[in-house]
Point group: C2
Chain length 87, copies 2
């Protein structure tokens, strides 16, 4: 079992109203020094068996056709090492 | 300028209807071998100046009070190395 993460973010040229709303609120909450905030989606996929090139290609296809709207969004596929359980 | 990423995911014990909806649709779309899907939020913060311990502590506080609902969500704060522009 391995975990593959797909991060989906709006393309840089696309306005991000949610991110802007967060950014505008920061000074009011006392947080300075953050010049931009972008908000996107994170998918964690638990994959049966080894994550070989074929599996990654399939997940890339899945992200492209289903998880991201590639007209306005970019996505990144990453294999995450299984977190060592804290004893 | 550095980028700090805050990943916000529902706690494992909290039902994730969006993730389940994605997972149930996968076989219909021809994707097998994915046993679980969790969906969360990803925030990319552009931070002015160096990201030292004090800045990270502030961002951790920001995530705890504003970006995540810590009753039902966990969050992870990560400093992301500036991506080298592909030449």
């Amino acid at each position: 079992m391995a975990r593959v993460v797909v991060d989906v973010m709006l393309k840089p040229e696309i306005l991000d109203p949610q991110g802007q709303a967060v950014q505008r609120a920061l000074p009011r909450l006392g947080f300075q020094g953050i010049s931009d905030v972008r908000q996107g989606k994170r998918f964690e996929l638990e994959v049966d068996g080894p994550v070989d090139d074929a599996a990654l290609a399939r997940i890339h296809e899945l992200a492209e056709t289903f998880l991201a709207n590639t007209v306005i969004e970019d996505f990144v596929v990453k294999v995450e090492e299984p977190a060592v359980e804290a004893k």
